[in-house]
Symmetry: C2
């Protein structure tokens, strides 16, 4: 297992530098509350609404941060990323804003509208099978000297994602708990670093679908656990098979707990947020609220932050919400 000492750049204090670097371009997203929700769960819940972020998701934060730190030579040669979702659009938009050439390797079964959205930001979209996309990305990176922007096992991505939690603490003050959805661990590890800097007494909790609890098992065992297959879950933003070394190193030091939610609990949380709070969030965001709303995770009347990761969803009859 790699330890945090091997990644000295991943310090709580570094989130402040990331914030300084990106704050003029990211949306300072609002925090939303609901008295109905507070009564239901017996606590004070604060939703940090990254569904209102550029590209509709927190992924823009990390992507912009990582691309803004490239040196002149790297920026001139361009970047490559593989993603079927929000990371693709985050890298594409950040690259466009910074005048950097971007190539995005997307699964060939991505919905046309997602590919169009990514291409719409000026990125070159390369189709690949899901299995081959890492290899295809690596080959293109080597051939063209592109810098590979990993979606979560990348220190600058992690630090960028952590700025959402940093903003949240500035907006609402101290919290007792902070919940984040967990796929590859980029958001969770960034959130944990920001919390260590801004409110060390706050417990950071990562949430996974029951069908994909590899991050929790990795956190408990101290080494990265790999799933055989992508988890089957409605929460499409967290269908990763394993977390990264950097993510686990941060989580081992700064994450207080890992928990899970069932598909039914995720759906119920999704419907609550859409129907009662009137905001469009993606299933991965509802995932972070689900353990609290279901009552499975007791928050003991505390002040609780939830990172609402984004709002990019498919709605039958309405198309893709990007």
């Amino acid at each position: 297992m790699k330890t945090l000492e091997q990644f000295p750049e991943l310090s709580p204090a570094s989130i402040a530098d990331a914030m300084d670097r990106i704050k003029s371009v990211v949306n300072q997203t609002p925090v939303m509350t609901s008295s109905t929700l507070n009564e239901l769960v017996g606590g004070e819940i604060f939703l940090k609404c990254e569904n209102f972020q550029k590209i509709g998701a927190f992924k823009f934060r990390g992507a912009y941060h990582a691309l803004s730190k490239l040196d002149a030579d790297q920026a001139a040669k361009g970047v490559i990323a593989h993603s079927s979702g929000n990371h693709a659009q985050g890298v594409a938009l950040a690259a466009k804003m910074l005048g950097i050439k971007a190539t995005i390797v997307m699964p060939e079964d991505s919905t046309p509208v997602k590919m169009e959205a990514t291409a719409g930001y000026g990125a070159t979209v390369v189709k690949s099978t899901a299995d081959a996309r890492e290899r295809v990305s690596a080959e293109l990176a080597e051939k063209h000297e592109y810098t590979l922007i990993h979606p979560y096992d990348n220190s600058d991505i992690i630090l960028g994602q952590g700025t959402a939690a940093w903003e949240l603490f500035e907006e609402v003050g101290e919290l007792d708990y902070l919940f984040a959805p967990t796929g590859g661990g980029g958001l969770l590890s960034g959130t944990a670093l920001a919390t260590a800097a801004k409110c060390p007494s706050c417990k950071v909790v990562g949430v996974e679908p029951v069908s994909g609890d590899d991050a929790g098992r990795s956190w408990r065992s101290g080494s990265v656990v790999e799933l055989e297959k992508s988890p089957k879950t409605i929460a499409d933003g967290v269908r990763t098979r394993f977390i990264g070394d950097r993510n686990l190193a941060v989580m081992s030091r700064y994450v207080s707990d890992m928990t899970t939610a069932t598909e039914r609990q995720i759906l119920e949380a999704l419907q609550f947020v859409w129907a009662r709070m009137k905001i469009v969030v993606e299933p991965s965001s509802a995932l972070a609220l689900a353990p609290i709303l279901s009552g499975d995770y007791q928050i003991n009347g505390g002040r609780v932050g939830i990172i609402i990761s984004g709002g990019n969803v498919n709605v039958p009859g309405c198309g893709f919400f990007h």
Copy 2:
């Protein structure tokens, strides 16, 4: 035609009194913007988000205001209202908060979940056919000495609804245009009074579905035009057959223009707001944005307010969003 002189209580200055009366109980709803939207329409658009109001719609403002002005005898005897939608819930919640007995006459084909929501606020729900509901309400009102709270042809309702626009001007300053969806005219007439008080140079525009343009025809002709049937439109909040005398009197003095949107334009505006702005709004709210988003109504680079009336919608597979 009745003129505004017959309703001296309907003065622009009276909105300030309504605001004072209800401001401690209504949500001061946020104003949302979208750089994508501004670019698309060539102007600066401000959405006043009453979907985040109590009961999920502006109707709470008027209902609370009207009920709070009842005298002790009226309050002791109780109120009655007929509505299939947001007015029912507005009156029910306001009555509960003020300790007043409320009876709501609802069409017998209302969805069970809407009836449950209304009953959930403690109101007595009476089922009726759509045709008979006015008669049923009047009979019950006479028998029990209930005060009838009309959904729009009621001065205190109008003044309460106007507080949304009042807040909007306090939040964003002067505007060139302010658009409001128009059914019975309660929201539009209140909005026009608030605008006359806060920003008399701002043009107030009412929007109706093409299939139900009675308010526009009434405003043009100077007398109330009655449709034979409720208009067929996705915008269920504006399926009224005629506006009220008080509404027309205010509109004749203070509304600058009336326009319409097609069903397709309403749907496109609805999808835009859900998909790009990530907020859940009802079709009647999208109606007010539709003429601008479609390009049919030119705003000439101006600063434009839109009253987003609410966010209570049926979504197939997700149930009723109340």
